[in-house]
């Protein structure tokens, strides 16, 4: 099974999250700049005089497509790297992915996601070795 992880967190944490993911072998990812808020609402910024309220705050949305057995570890890694403990740290969503097609090679499904040295192949090698 293939899953999509969609993590929305503070933009200043992007570098640390990326480095942590590289550390566990997650190489492929993409990022969208988003603006939004959860239950806490917006923030006050300094204006010409006094303050004004901004409702939509800048966050990044990180998208990763990966195999089922890597989901848990990846979520943990993102959570550790993106956490400040303050309100507004963000959310992580996990979705099932129906199909993946690599445009260059026409590979489908799991084959389209794996390549030499990435987390999926490494994990498979480790699991095979354990068998």
């Amino acid at each position: 099974m293939t899953k999509k992880i969609e993590a929305i967190f503070r933009e200043e944490k992007l570098h640390m999250v990326k480095e942590a993911l590289y550390g566990i072998g997650i190489i492929g990812m993409n990022v969208i700049e988003v603006r939004g808020h959860g239950r806490q609402g917006g923030v006050e910024l300094a204006g010409r005089t006094g303050t004004y309220r901004v409702d939509f705050l800048p966050r990044v949305q990180l998208n990763i497509i990966l195999s089922d057995h890597n989901v848990e570890k990846t979520i943990e890694t993102i959570q550790q790297a993106a956490q400040t403990g303050n309100i507004g740290d963000g959310l992580i969503f996990v979705y099932p992915v129906e199909e993946v097609i690599r445009i260059r090679t026409s590979e489908h499904g799991h084959d389209a996601l794996t390549y030499e040295g990435d987390i999926d192949t490494r994990e498979e090698v480790r699991l095979q070795a354990a068998d």
Binding site: L45, A46, G47, R48, T49, G50, T51, Y52, R53
Partner: protein, 407 residues
């Protein structure tokens, strides 16, 4: 026949270029404070004013402001189309530079003043209406007031009013006209409900920096000679801007954090306040004038917000109130030790000057506010002041100009 002084002429030509630069600088100053979808539109309101009023000034503006006085109220048509304005000096205006240099220098003041008002129009004004308003306003508000205060035989000049570089003529007229126009124009859609964030504060900082530099020409050039008085004006100008920027920083710090938008606004307010006084007061007085201009405009902005009035970029609070304070402060701090051709103020034993300044301020506020209010009402009935709601939501860059600031 007066002798042309080459040093004076060189300085006035440079000062003319410096003041010309202030209007595109104002375009950046204002542009950075609006939303992205109105950035080009806002910049253009200032920029096109350079074109419009340059023509108006050559054709009719200069002669209305500086032609032979008709009862102290308006200039005659002696200089229509700049006829009789040439390389020879005019003893009445500036005896050591070509008359044409004086008229070109004054042109740049006539340009920036209506551009200042555009801060009240942003994000909703119909461009066509803006063009017509700007030409009418220059003709029926700026030119007469310039004549009253600066023209030989002008009524307020006759009264003894001091306005070194345009605190009254430029900033009070612009500020109170902005207030009147905003009252007729009405609020932007969602004003007070949705945040209207400045889209590019660095542009505003760039604009403020260039305004500060250009103001050396604005105030220093108003000595109309390359002399000690010009130097005094440049030093008081810089000092007042510095004092107001620092004062504003502390005010915004007390409310939240030292806002950069606030600091540069403070600098501009200090420049406004020192404008009428620059050639009449000492550098120490400039610290007081700039330092007090900041809280006056700061709390005027908050008052305007409390009124729920969408005078969008606070032309009234910054220029109207800053200019009023500067004009009154000139009546307090002016001293003949700085400028023997000026007068002493209240603090130098002449309370009469303060009375004259107050009277001048009241007359000019009433005139600028009243005429602008009527002009805005007439234009509103005739062609409408605003774009449609849909055009406003899309933004004026696309709906009025068919362009966008960024691809």
């Amino acid at each position: 026949m007066n002798e042309i002084n080459t040093g004076d002429t060189a300085w006035i030509l440079i000062a003319t270029a410096l003041v010309m630069m202030m209007t595109p600088a104002l375009a950046f100053f204002y542009g950075g404070m609006v939303r992205k979808k109105n950035l080009l539109s806002t910049i253009n309101l200032s920029f096109i004013t350079v074109g419009l009023i340059s023509l108006q000034w050559v054709l009719i503006g200069y002669t209305l402001a500086f032609g032979k006085s008709q009862g102290g109220l308006i200039g005659g048509l002696d200089f229509l189309g700049l006829s009789n304005v040439g390389a020879e000096p005019n003893a009445d205006s500036a005896p050591t530079i070509p008359h044409l240099a004086f008229s070109a220098y004054q042109m740049m003041f006539a340009i920036i003043t209506p551009a200042l008002i555009s801060g009240a129009f942003v994000e909703r004004v119909r461009f066509k209406t803006f063009l017509i308003f700007t030409v009418l306003w220059a003709t029926f508000v700026y030119d007469p007031v310039a004549h009253w205060v600066w023209g030989v035989g002008g009524v307020l000049r006759g009264l003894g009013a001091l306005d070194f570089a345009g605190g009254t003529v430029v900033h009070i007229t612009a500020g109170f006209s902005a207030l009147a126009f905003a009252m007729v124009l009405g609020k932007r859609k969602w004003f007070g409900q949705a945040p209207m964030e400045p889209s590019n504060i660095p542009l505003t900082v760039l604009g403020a920096g260039l305004l500060w530099m250009g103001w050396f020409g604005f105030n220093g050039g108003s000595a109309l000679a390359a002399n000690g008085l010009a130097v005094n004006a440049v030093v008081t100008t810089n000092t007042a801007a510095a004092a107001a920027a620092v004062a504003w920083m502390f005010l915004s710090w007390r409310d939240k954090k030292p806002s950069v938008l606030g600091i540069v606004t403070g600098a501009v307010v200090g420049l406004v306040a020192i404008t009428p006084a620059a050639g009449f007061v000492t550098p120490l007085a400039a610290i007081v004038i700039g330092g007090l201009a900041a809280p006056i405009s700061y709390y005027a902005i908050q008052l305007r917000q409390k009124w729920g009035l969408d005078e969008s970029l606070d032309v009234w609070a910054c220029h109207g109130m800053g200019g009023t304070w500067g004009a009154l402060a000139t009546g307090l701090f002016a001293t003949k030790l700085v400028n023997p051709a000026g007068a002493d103020g209240l603090f130098y034993g002449n309370p009469g000057q303060f009375v004259i300044q107050t009277l001048t301020v009241v007359i000019v506020i009433a005139f600028a506010f009243g005429v602008t209010y009527v002009l805005a009402k007439l234009l509103n009935r005739w062609i409408g002041l605003r774009v449609t709601e849909n055009e406003e939501e899309v933004g004026l860059d696309i709906s009025e100009h068919g362009e966008r600031a960024y691809a």
